[in-house]
Amino acid sequence: MIKKIKLYNILFVAICSLALIITLVPLIWILAEVIANGISAISFSLLTNLPAPPGIPGGGIGNYIQGTIILSAVASLIGFPVGLLMGIFISEYREHKFAPVVRFFVDVFAEFPAIVIGIFVYVIIVRGDIFKLFGINALCLGSICIGPTGFSAIAGSISLALLMIPIVTKSVEEALNLVPTSIKEAALAMGMPRWRMVLTISLSYARGGLILSYILALSRIAGEAAPLLLTVLGSFYWFTSFYDRIGALPLAIFTYGLSPYEDYRAQAWAASLLLILVVLILNIALRILIERRMIR
């Protein structure tokens, strides 16, 4: 009887370890394939040149790298401040009756399929339904008009920004929740207005956490393809304007991966390697920062 239970026990631990192995095998497999195929394809000209038609040597993914940087940067410019302010609201003003509502919406929105956000931005920005909602074709302030953007870098950035907001909000909230009350009270007791306490004391105390939340959001949006497909569509050329289409690494991986040409597939591996490296480096940097307690 006891022997049998012991046997079960060993068996159970073995099955558990097996489960962990099953979880980790795909990761290692994917990393191995990406690194092996990516490194053999990567070269300086690949990183700097424009794409070439299949079969013609010397084609590159330079414009995709540029596009991803531009899209991420613009998305960060919109998404991070908004997420930051909302994070401040639900953490520092948690007693406000509206705060739990916002927190719930953020939590739900964070889980929305990215493609849904892509469709939404397509409908209201690319196609411009937001303007039709108000019965106009475009919003004009003096000589500057904002109308339906068509497939464009700006629409792509907005969709990435929307993806970014809940991630930033949640992690900013967590970071601000770690600011000790005693520190905040010290600031208030010396006659600091609350807004100033939040902006100088809380934010600077939690600055590590804020960097963390930004890195987290950035590594998430840098690899996002679905909403971009519906809002920027992709391009084979360098960036020209925010109202034009733009290339992006995830889009290139998608289209190249589906193509039958060997050299396009190789470039898709190279693009994947770049993305994975970015994600990996950001992740590792984070972990080191956390370990060294540079981030609270």
């Binding site: 005693s182 010290a186 010396m190 006659g191």
Partner: protein
């Protein structure tokens, strides 16, 4: 007696729970007033009502009047027209656990209070910071570490840094909430000396659970129990011949 703070019928609630009942008390200027009592008696709440910090916690409530007769402010600080932020600038506060801003340097910890009070002149800031550190008996110990983090100091030094921070923007009253309860006897006695020194320029209100501390440094002592002010008297009187049976039992340790 020259009164700086006149508390009249102060009631305070912590959520639904009333923690102060009709406390009336007159705090004399340029004196050390100690507030003693068992934990949970409302002494910390009372202190936090003096600079309107209590009401900041959601759900908390205060009723009653506190008249403050300062140089630039005279009147009821709970008047609806009064901005609590301004009141707090007339009062410095030092907390139970030393809480210097860990992300700021020793220097900036003191300077930040000046900046929020609109002092921009670098030289003047420099002067006041050094002066405050000196007044807090800290300058000699930290003059080589002014640009290290405020959290790098020892516990006693941190608390003196907090005192320097509290006096830098020249408040008239310094409120201290059990400032030495986390410190060893040597650090404690330094801070006690410092407080006695400081009462020449500031009015000091200190909450302490250490009766001997009150006996050592305070000019006036208030005993609170279950949210009520039981007795308020010159310190030697309160400790030698308390009028109230509860005070007697508490200070002689015959409680409970």
């Amino acid at each position: 007696m020259d009164i700086i703070i006149d508390v009249k019928n102060l009631n305070a609630w912590y959520g639904e729970k009333q923690v102060l009942y009709n406390v009336s008390l007159q705090i004399p200027r340029y004196n050390i007033t100690a507030i003693i009592g068992p934990s949970g008696c409302g002494k910390t709440t009372f202190l936090r009502c003096l600079n309107r910090l209590h009401e900041l916690t959601p759900g908390n409530r205060v009723e009653g009047e506190i008249y403050f007769y300062g140089k630039n402010f005279k009147g009821n600080i709970y008047d609806s027209k009064v901005d609590p932020v301004e009141i707090r600038r007339h009062m410095g506060m030092v907390f139970q656990k030393p809480n210097p801003f860990p992300m700021l340097s020793v220097y900036d910890n003191v300077a930040i209070g000046l900046k929020i009070n609109g002092i921009r002149d670098k030289k003047k800031i420099d002067e006041i910071v050094m002066d405050s550190l000196k007044k807090a008996y800290l300058l000699d110990e930290v003059k080589d570490a002014l640009h290290k983090s405020g959290a790098s100091l020892s516990g006693g030094q941190q608390q003196r840094l907090c005192i320097a921070r509290a006096i830098a923007y020249n408040p008239e009253v310094i409120l201290l909430d059990e400032p030495t309860s986390a410190l060893d006897p040597v650090a404690t006695s330094k801070i006690e000396q410092l407080l006695v020194e400081l009462k020449r320029e500031y009015t000091i209100v200190i909450v302490t659970h250490n009766m001997q501390q009150a006996a050592r440094i305070a000019d006036y002592t208030a005993f609170m129990y279950l949210g009520k002010l039981i007795e308020f008297a010159p310190t030697e009187e309160l400790f030698e011949t308390p009028k109230n049976e509860l005070t007697e039992r508490y200070i002689t340790g015959k409680f409970g």
